[in-house]
Symmetry: C2
Subunit: 196 residues, 2 copies
DNA sequence: ACCTGAACACCGTTCAAGT
DNA sequence: ACCTGAACACCGTTCAAGT
C-alpha cells in the first residue's frame, strides 16, 4: 500500500509533533514511543522515519517548539515597566513550568546519545531566550560591565532551571518550606544586587 | 541450574551496583540495562529481580550511593575556615560533577514512573546534604531569620544544580563565556549577600 | 515519492522448572 | 532458597515490496 492519506509532508510532521506533545503531556517521556505516535496519527511506524531522522530528532523538534512557547510568554512579561520585570519574569517562568510540567521536563530529561550534539538551529533558540532576559533585566544592573551582566543573567537562568527541575521532580518540597517561585524571585533579586 | 555462584546476596547486590556504576560512567543512562548488568556479573537477568524490585529501584540505589559520595566531599570542604567555605564548597561541588559527569547526570536524568515516589530512606539523604550546606554557610548569614537562611541555602543548592546540569548537557557553553564554577561562586556569593 | 508490514536486534519483567 | 532459561509484550530502526 502507499499514499495512505492525503496529508502533505509538512502537515504530517505537524500532526506527528502534536501527537507526541499530547503523549508527553499525559505520560511524560516514558510514554513517548515511535510506535505510539505512529498509531495515533494512523500511519505505520516506518513512516515517521520519512519525517524525522529518528526518535531523538522528533524529541528535539518538540523541545524546540516548547522553547518557542516559553519565549512568547517571557517576551510578554518583559514588556512590564522596569521595576516590575523581575517579578513578572519569574511569575511567567513558573506559570509556564507549572502549566505543562511534563513538557517542560522533557526539555532537560531528554539527552542525545553520547557524542551527538544539538542541531545548529537549536542553539540560537537558547541564546535568544537568554538574550531576551538579558535585555529585560540589563538596565537593572547599570553599574556592571557587560561581562558581569551576562554572567548574572546566565546564573539567574540556570538557577531558575534548577529550582524548577527540583520542584517538578519533588526533590525540593520536602526540603524547603518556601514556594519554588518565591525562591526564584529571591534568586533573581539577589543576582540583581538587591538587598531583599 | 541454581546457586550458580557462592556470592552472599549482599555481596551480589554490591557487585550489581558496581557493574551498573561502571556502565553509567562509560555510557550514561542509555547504556544501562538489566540484561547488561546481569551479563557483567555473570548471572541471568531474572536474578537481578531477587536483589532489586526492578531497574528503577536499582537506579535509585545507585543514585543514593552517588549522593553519599557527594556528601563526603562536601563535608570535607565544609571543614575550611568560615570565610573560605563558599569557594571551597563550590569547588568541591564542581570537582565532583566534572569528575563523574554521567554518574551525576543520572541523579537528575532518571525519573521514576508517573505517580511513584522516591523511597522513604532516600529523602533524608537529600535533606542531610542540604543541612550540611546550611550549617556550613549559616554563620555567614547572621542577620537573617532561620527561614531566610533556609530559603537562601535551598536556592544556592538548586542553582548549583541548574548550572551544572546545563553545563554537563552543553546548554551553557555556547551562551556563557564564563566557567560554570565561576557562575556557581557568583551565585553563592550573591545569595550570601556579598557584593562581589 | 511515499507508505506498509515484516523483520531484526534489542528491551523489562515474570515464572515454571530445576538444584 | 536461589537461579535459570524461556516466554511475553513490548521497543527503535531498516528495508523490500507495493502503489
Amino acid at each position: 500500500m502507499a499514499r495512505r492519506s492525503d496529508h502533505a509532508p509538512e502537515e504530517l510532521k505537524r500532526l506527528a509533533l502534536e501527537s507526541a506533545r499530547a503523549i508527553v503531556m499525559e505520560e511524560g517521556l516514558r510514554g513517548l514511543t515511535v510506535r505510539r505516535v505512529a498509531e495515533r496519527i494512523g500511519y505505520a511506524p516506518g513512516t515517521l522515519y520519512n519525517l524525522f531522522a529518528n526518535l531523538d530528532d522528533l524529541i528535539v523538534q518538540l523541545n524546540a517548539a516548547t522553547l518557542d512557547a516559553l519565549a512568547v510568554v517571557l517576551v510578554e512579561a518583559a514588556r512590564a515597566e522596569l521595576a516590575a520585570r523581575p517579578e513578572r519574569l519569574v511569575e511567567a517562568y513558573f506559570d509556564f513550568v507549572e502549566s505543562r510540567p511534563r513538557l517542560w521536563s522533557l526539555l532537560f530529561e531528554h539527552r542525545l546519545p553520547e557524542g551527538e550534539d544539538l542541531p545548529d538551529w537549536y542553539r540560537p533558540k537558547l541564546a535568544a531566550l537568554l538574550g531576551l532576559v538579558a535585555e529585560a533585566l540589563g538596565p537593572l544592573m547599570p553599574d556592571q560591565t557587560r561581562e558581569a551582566r551576562q554572567a548574572a543573567t546566565v546564573t539567574m537562568w540556570a538557577g531558575l532551571h534548577g529550582i524548577s527541575t527540583l520542584a517538578v521532580t519533588s526533590k525540593l518540597t520536602l526540603v524547603a518550606e518556601t514556594e519554588p517561585r518565591a525562591l526564584g524571585l529571591l534568586l533573581v533579586r539577589r543576582m540583581l544586587g538587591g538587598e531583599s
